[in-house]
Structures are given as structure tokens and as C-alpha cells.
């Protein structure tokens, strides 16, 4: 017996592809376990009834019609930026500049609203906002893209740094356009004339944004999965050598895709400023360009799944805020819960790709 070495208790091996329902079963189980873990911890630390906490999280998103609209508006904005960075991500080009590209789109929109508002017919102002924000976002993405295509610079660092340039530019223009002088902020632009405000559909303030993003979502899905460009993006992302081998001009695809990425970010900025906020601050994007990275990855770069993942993240964030106010818990506590849930969801990917083989009950030795 002693000369018999023991097998390890378990070993890990790679799984073959799982059928989709089993993969989603694992993900659902992860979410369930995450909720249980959160409930346990909540109960142990705060002594609150976890069900009440969950009910409050639900309330935070669906407690009233207004909250539901805010939820969907936030989902739309996050989804829009996520859709924007996804083509670049599919190309394995890590555009972390979604925030800056969106912010520069906000700046362009604001400039049009302030400088042209009231001087031109409203539809012309809105057209200018649309074109300039898309151009601004595209330029902000094109600069790192051209450098990457020509000199193979690192797009992650470059796009990240472009974010800071955008923030500083916005800070500069806020001082120039501040109302009233010395206030250090712009306030609501054209509050009386509503010049450059995107039209409202019926009495629903957020509906237009939601519809536009839904259209972008479908268009992006079709573009990535069925168009020739989408196919080129996939090939370049998987292997640049294969792309060159079949005659795809890799540099051109990189620049073109990043232009698209930046353009949609710019559009998101326009929707945010022109559609709902009607003002400009340096933090107006709320870091959506970074949250979008998670949305896109969690959905495996699939625009349709991204609706679900952006819903999940926004829902958790809104609920977290709600329990902070309702129970007087610090908002960091809400972040802890969000973190726990994400930990389980991301961790479940391990169990989808790998399986754990336990040692067979050591029958032979008996």
C-alpha cells in the first residue's frame, strides 16, 4: 500500500464544445450561486433580510415608470458605446478609447448647440450636431488607428491616452462657454429655445435614443456577421498573416474599422448631450467607454447578447444605488455585491471551457 503513490484528488481538462443550453445552464447556475452568496454575506454583515435587499434592487430598476425609463436610457447609452467598440474588438484591436471618443462627440454636439443654436433652423443644427459628433469620434479613433497601421504602435495605450486629451479639451471649453461666468460649468444649454435638442417622441423623453440604439444594434449585428467588411474584420482579428495571404489589405481594414468604432462612439455622445443631458461636463460619459469593454467581452462580441449583458450591468448598478439609499448602506457595499456577481459570472466561463475530473473512487486498491 505504501509504495502506491496516490493520484491527485482531481485534475482539470479541456472540454469539447458544449451545447449552448448546457453553457447557458452553467451561466444561470453561476448567477444563482452569486445571488445566494450575496444573500449570505448581506445577512452575515448587515443582518438585513436578503430578500428585502433583492426586492430593493428590483425596485431600483422597475419601482416606477420613471425608473424603468431611466434604466432603459442607461442601457441604451451603454449598449451604444459597447456596440461601437465591438468591431475593433472583433479585430483584436483593443480600443479602450470609447470614453474619449464619446466625450469628443459630446463636445462637438455642444459646440453646435451653443454656436449655431438659434442662428440656423433647428433641423440644420441637429444635422450639424450629427455630422460633427460622428466626425469628431471618428477622428479621435483614426489617430491611434493610423499609427497602429503604419508603425504598429500599441492601440491600447494610445486610445487610453486619447481619453485624457479629450477630457482636458472638454475642461477647456467648459471654461470658455461657462454660464454664468465663473460658474465653472455650462448648465442646461438653450433651455428656453431648446435649440439643438433632439425631438421628443410623444411624451417619452428617452424613447428616441432607445430606438436609435436598437437600430444601431441590429445594423451592427448584420454588419459584423453578414457583410464582407465584417468577414474581413474577423479574418484580420484571427490572423493577420492569413488576411494578407488572401489579399486583404490589413492596414486599410484596421483604419476603416477604427473609424467606424469612433464614429458610433461620437454618435453615442450626440445622443447623450442632444437627447437627454443638454449639458456638458468632463464626467458626462460616466466611464461608459470602460464598462462597455466588459459588456462586449461578456457577450463574446455578439451585439444581440450585448443587450443582455448591458442590461445586467446597468440593472446591478441601479439596484446598488437603490439599496445604498434605502438601507443607509454605503454605496461601496453595493459595489461589493456587483463585484461578487460579476466574479461568479466571469468565473463560470472556466467551467464552460474546462471540466474537473475527480479521482475515481479508489476501488481498485480496496
Amino acid at each position: 500500500m505504501n509504495n502506491k503513490a496516490h493520484n491527485p484528488l482531481f485534475h482539470v481538462s479541456r472540454r469539447a464544445a458544449l451545447p449552448w443550453y448546457r453553457a447557458w445552464g452553467i451561466r444561470a447556475a453561476a448567477l444563482l450561486i452569486a445571488l445566494l452568496a450575496c444573500a449570505l454575506i448581506t445577512n452575515l454583515i448587515t443582518g438585513l433580510n436578503p430578500l428585502a435587499v433583492y426586492a430593493t434592487i428590483w425596485q431600483g430598476s422597475f419601482g416606477s415608470a420613471r425608473r424603468a425609463w431611466v434604466l432603459f436610457q442607461n442601457i441604451a447609452m451603454l449598449l451604444c458605446v459597447s456596440l461601437a467598440i465591438t468591431p475593433a474588438f472583433r479585430m483584436r484591436c483593443w480600443n479602450l478609447g470609447g470614453d474619449g471618443q464619446m466625450l469628443i462627440g459630446c463636445l462637438a454636439t455642444t459646440a453646435c448647440m451653443i454656436l449655431l443654436g438659434g442662428k440656423l433652423p433647428n433641423w440644420v443644427v441637429i444635422l450639424c450636431m450629427l455630422v460633427s459628433s460622428i466626425l469628431a469620434g471618428a477622428i479621435w479613433a483614426a489617430i491611434p488607428a493610423i499609427f497602429k497601421a503604419k508603425w504598429n504602435t500599441n492601440e491600447t495605450l494610445f486610445t487610453l491616452m486619447m481619453n485624457y486629451v479629450a477630457t482636458q479639451l472638454v475642461a477647456y471649453y467648459i471654461i470658455i462657454w461657462e454660464v454664468p461666468k465663473g460658474a465653472g460649468k455650462i448648465g442646461i444649454i438653450n433651455q428656453s429655445t431648446q435649440a439643438g435638442w433632439l425631438p421628443q417622441i410623444g411624451s417619452y423623453k428617452y424613447l428616441l435614443n432607445i430606438i436609435v440604439v436598437a437600430l444601431v444594434c441590429v445594423a451592427m449585428y448584420v454588419y459584423l456577421n453578414y457583410s464582407k467588411h465584417g468577414y474581413e474584420i474577423a479574418v484580420v482579428g484571427e490572423s493577420e498573416r492569413t488576411a494578407r495571404y488572401v489579399g486583404i489589405k490589413v492596414e486599410r481594414v484596421i483604419v476603416r474599422t477604427m473609424l467606424l468604432s469612433g464614429a458610433v462612439c461620437g454618435l453615442a455622445g450626440m445622443l447623450l448631450v442632444g437627447g437627454t443631458e443638454h449639458t456638458l461636463t468632463t464626467t458626462i460619459t460616466s466611464g461608459r467607454g470602460f464598462t462597455a469593454v466588459m459588456v462586449s467581452w461578456l457577450a463574446k462580441f455578439n451585439p444581440i447578447w450585448m443587450v443582455l449583458t448591458s442590461f445586467l450591468l446597468v440593472f446591478l448598478e441601479r439596484g446598488a444605488g437603490q439599496i445604498a439609499t434605502s438601507f443607509g448602506l454605503s454605496s461601496s457595499y453595493a459595489d461589493i455585491l456587483t463585484g461578487l456577481i460579476l466574479f461568479f459570472i466571469i468565473g463560470s466561463e472556466f467551467f464552460i471551457n474546462y471540466q474537473i475530473n475527480f479521482r475515481h473512487a479508489a476501488g481498485k486498491e480496496d
Binding site: 509504495n3 457583410s227 494578407r244
Partner: protein, 511 residues
């Protein structure tokens, strides 16, 4: 049997390993003896490498036991394997280029770093078995065969006496192979246990004492090499009788198709890769390219395919009516737009010829997705093509929506070749078309190439197995250090002469 009085160094019993639904090894029994060279044979995907990886601690078996010298052991990691005296030399070398041989050999070993003592020990090992290694030479200065020698010395230095070599001759010239075999025999005579994985039958016959055969993950049998022959071993591997002759029909109406003149190519680092290379490839003919690996074969094919910047020279495509088109300075897209149907089966199948993560249908699209004016891709035609390739070339795959990286090497190559010949090319470039493929798949590929030849395609075939090249090619161009060492007719060519031409310009001095 005379083998009975030898001690079994390794006993593998009932070894089972599955990857998902794929059973890579199914209750395999294998004995490895000291003082013996065992050739492990089997087609691609028959589980040879998996079995050896379990012995060297890379994988862990689902079931079964391994015992070394009669003692049951558990090999959890490559370190466990080393501690038991098991060393594996992989196909891809794991060496640090900027370090010397000695530094690479002692890398990662515990204890004080004493390079002088290490060099002494290395010299000792080298003289004992007949290796030629300079411990102070940097890896980047070494030829492929020298690097392999360093890998072997590395495992010996760590005290391995059970050596596993995974396709060691794939990268060697005939002369280098002879040298390797000589040291392997020396090690065997010194009482070491040696396992060699190979596809080349003549090597099995020349070198091994015993063969063990796997098929579809199962152990089929083992026997002394002397008591069997290539035909019998092949039949056991494949499971039915196969013929081992490569056809070489006479070229029909050959006409010049590609004319290369004074081609000179430098790598990005400025190193001369090809120098003043001139030749003509004819339609309906297979032009074989022989040479030590890295002698400019890759650059030659990629220059013709429009993937390699060229310093000087010209490459003309000659149409049937005699009009010439210059290919240099054009990329693959503009070559295709000129109406030149040029197919290229590159050496790096998954990294260049195919997209590993895409399925069969999407990989079929690589060449054709631009067709038509629609913004959208045509998904139906590639699907039909994928179905046809799977059927005609007997690709074994769960379906056309399986990512190609999940297929075995032979099937990957069938998919790639199938796509490349589907466009009815006039020129077919192939680089190491059968590398890593088993006998059955290799013969399928030879047949496909011969069919293309019969249809009048000009074929440039870069090969590494000289025996095959001598049987298949109509003419053989031998490269040596980026220069043309000679162009000889394939019929009647002699392996020794070609081997000499590979290492020395022009081969024999009196030629």
C-alpha cells in the same frame, strides 16, 4: 522471444485519456525496454503523442497505471517525469536564442550556476555518444540539427535514461538524420530506453528494434522490427491494405508557365534569403524544391504568391498564348484580379492558410468572399464547397460548422488543399504539403497533386522527405543557402547526390 530477458523500464497499463467526447487513448498497454529503440507508429490522431505526453507529465491519464522499473508512479508534471528519468524532445524546440548551448542546458536547474563545470559535463556527454555540440555557441548561430542536438543533450544532462523523440527527423537532411541515428544507437547500446515517433517507414526499418502500433487510440500490437516490413506495418496502422507506390505520370504537353529570373530577396533584418535564383516551372509538371529547412523555400513561394517584397529579379507568368505578365510588385489581390489563378498551400496551415477558429464553411470563403457586388457575403456557395470537399477528400469532421482547429493535421491539410484546388488553378504552390500527415492522408495529397498535374497545372512542390520528392517530382531544384545548387531530372535522381547538393553548392566537386 529474445526481448523477454530485458527489464521493462516503463509499463503503461490500461491508459485511457479522453478530450471531451474524443477518446484519444483507449486502454492502451505499452512496454518500453532499456537497451532498445521503440518506434511508435500510428496515423494522425491515433494517440501517439497523447500517450507520450502522459508519460512526460504534460497530460494526466483519466484511467490506468504507469510503472517505472516495476514501481507504480504518478506523473503529475514534467518535473515529476524528469525526476523519474523521462525526457521528451518535442517537435518544436524550446530554447532561448540569445543564450549559449550550455546556458540553455542548465537553465532552470536548481543549485549554483557553474557554467564551466556544466560545459565539462556537456563535453563528457557529447563524447560518450558522439554528439557534436559546442557548449559556448549561441543558439541563434546554430542550424536546426544543432538545436535538436542541444535539446537531446539537455535531457541527458538532467539524467534522463528514457528518451522520447517526437518526429525528430522532420527537419533534418539525410546526412543529419544518419548522424542522429548513430547517436541514438550509441545511447541504446548504453542501456537507455528510446522511443521515437515517426511517420517515415524507411526510418523505422533502419533504426528501430521494435515497433508498437496504435490505431484510433487503441493498441494494435507490437513486434520486433526484423519480423515485419513496411507493408505490414502500414496495413496495421491503417487497418486495411494500402499500396505504397507514388505515381509519376509523364508530363503531358509541358509549356513554360512561371519563369523566375535572378530573384534576390532579403528578409526584414537585411539577411540575404534568396540570391540570383532562376528557373522555369512548366504546366503539367511537378517541380520539386529540395533544401535544408530555411534555405529560402518559404521566400521563394511567397515571392511568387505576392507576399514577399523582392529586391531584384523578375517573375513572369506566361499564358498559353505566350503573353507574359510580371508578378513582382503585385499583392495576392492584384494577382487574382489579373486573372492569374494561383493557388498556394503554405507551410503554416492554421496560421496562414486557414483561420483556426473559423469553421470549414467560413474558411472556404477566404478566397471567394469578395465575389459579387453585394455588400454582403454569399454564405451558400462556400457551404456547398465545404460539403463537397468533406465528401470528395474524405475529411473526417463532425460537420462543416466545426472550427478547423479541432480537426487533426491531415484533415486540416485536406481542407486547405481542397479549397486551393477548387478554384481550378493554373499554378499550385505547396510548402511541406504532407508534413506531420500520416501515410493515408499523405497519399491522398499526392493523388490530389498528381490529378492537378494531369489537368495541366504547373506545380511547385517544396518537400522535406527526399524519398517522396524523388518519387513524385518530374524535376528537382535544389536550394542551398538561398542559391540554386542545381536542377536535376527527378527520374533517376539519387538521394545521396541531392543530399550533397543541399549542403554544398553544385553537390559533387567533379560535376
Amino acid at each position: 522471444m529474445s526481448l523477454d530477458n530485458k527489464t521493462a523500464a516503463v509499463k503503461m497499463r490500461n491508459i485511457t485519456k479522453s478530450f471531451g467526447p474524443v477518446l484519444a487513448n483507449d486502454k492502451v498497454w505499452l512496454d518500453i525496454y532499456r537497451g532498445e529503440i521503440l518506434a511508435l507508429l500510428g496515423e494522425n490522431g491515433s494517440g501517439k503523442t497523447t500517450l507520450m505526453n502522459m508519460l512526460s507529465g504534460i497530460y494526466f491519464p483519466d484511467e490506468g497505471t504507469i510503472s517505472i522499473d516495476g514501481r507504480d508512479v504518478v506523473i503529475r508534471s514534467p518535473k515529476d517525469a524528469f525526476d523519474l528519468g523521462i525526457g521528451m524532445i518535442h517537435q518544436h524546440f524550446k530554447l532561448v536564442d540569445v543564450l549559449t548551448a550550455a546556458e540553455n542546458i542548465v537553465l532552470g536547474l536548481p543549485g549554483k550556476l557553474d557554467l564551466k563545470a556544466a560545459s565539462e559535463k556537456i563535453r563528457g556527454i557529447c563524447s560518450a555518444y558522439g554528439f557534436e555540440v559546442d557548449p559556448d555557441q549561441k543558439i541563434y548561430d546554430m542550424s536546426v540539427s544543432q538545436k535538436q542536438t542541444v535539446e537531446i543533450v539537455k535531457v541527458l544532462y538532467r539524467g534522463a535514461d528514457i528518451l522520447i523523440l517526437d518526429e525528430p527527423t522532420a527537419v533534418l537532411t539525410p546526412q543529419e538524420t544518419d548522424k542522429l541515428f548513430a547517436v541514438l544507437r550509441n545511447m541504446r547500446d548504453d542501456g537507455k530506453a528510446i522511443v521515437i515517433i515517426t511517420h517515415k517507414m524507411h526510418e523505422v526499418e533502419a533504426l528501430s528494434d521494435r515497433v508498437a502500433i496504435l490505431r484510433h487510440g487503441q493498441f494494435i500490437g507490437d513486434m520486433p522490427t526484423k519480423q515485419t516490413n513496411a507493408q505490414e506495418m502500414t496495413n496495421m496502422m491503417v487497418g486495411h491494405a494500402v499500396t505504397l507506390n507514388i505515381d509519376r505520370p509523364e508530363p503531358v504537353n509541358p509549356k513554360p508557365r512561371i519563369e523566375v529570373k535572378g530573384l534576390t530577396v532579403r528578409s526584414i533584418d537585411g539577411i540575404l534569403k534568396l540570391e540570383d535564383v532562376s528557373f522555369t516551372a512548366n504546366s503539367g509538371e511537378i517541380l520539386g524544391i529540395a533544401g535544408i529547412s530555411g534555405c529560402g523555400q518559404k521566400e521563394l513561394l511567397e515571392s511568387i504568391a505576392g507576399l514577399q517584397p523582392v529586391e531584384a529579379g523578375s517573375i513572369s507568368y506566361i499564358e498559353d498564348d505566350g503573353t507574359r505578365e510580371e508578378l513582382i510588385g503585385k499583392d495576392p489581390l492584384s494577382i487574382a484580379e489579373m486573372g492569374v489563378s494561383l493557388s498556394f498551400v503554405p507551410e503554416d496551415r492554421l496560421g496562414m492558410g486557414l483561420v483556426a477558429n473559423m469553421d470549414l464553411a467560413d474558411n472556404m470563403m477566404l478566397r471567394s468572399f469578395r465575389k459579387g457586388h453585394s455588400l454582403f457575403t454569399d454564405r451558400r456557395t462556400p457551404k456547398e464547397l465545404a460539403q463537397a470537399v468533406v465528401q470528395n477528400l474524405e475529411v473526417s469532421t463532425p460537420g462543416i460548422s466545426t472550427p478547423v482547429r479541432r480537426l487533426s493535421g491531415g484533415n486540416v491539410q485536406k481542407v486547405l488543399v481542397g479549397r486551393e484546388i477548387s478554384s481550378a488553378p493554373t499554378v499550385l504552390l505547396t510548402a511541406y504539403a504532407v508534413r506531420g500527415l500520416d501515410i493515408n492522408s499523405s497519399y491522398t495529397i499526392y493523388d490530389l497533386i498528381n490529378k492537378q498535374k494531369a489537368e495541366g497545372v504547373a506545380i511547385i512542390y517544396v518537400g522535406e522527405d527526399l524519398d517522396v520528392l524523388l518519387e513524385l517530382a518530374d524535376r528537382i531544384l535544389v536550394l542551398c543557402g538561398g542559391k540554386v545548387s542545381g536542377i536535376i531530372p527527378g527520374r533517376g535522381a539519387n538521394k545521396r547526390d541531392v543530399g550533397l547538393m543541399m549542403t554544398k553548392l553544385g553537390g559533387k566537386a567533379d560535376e
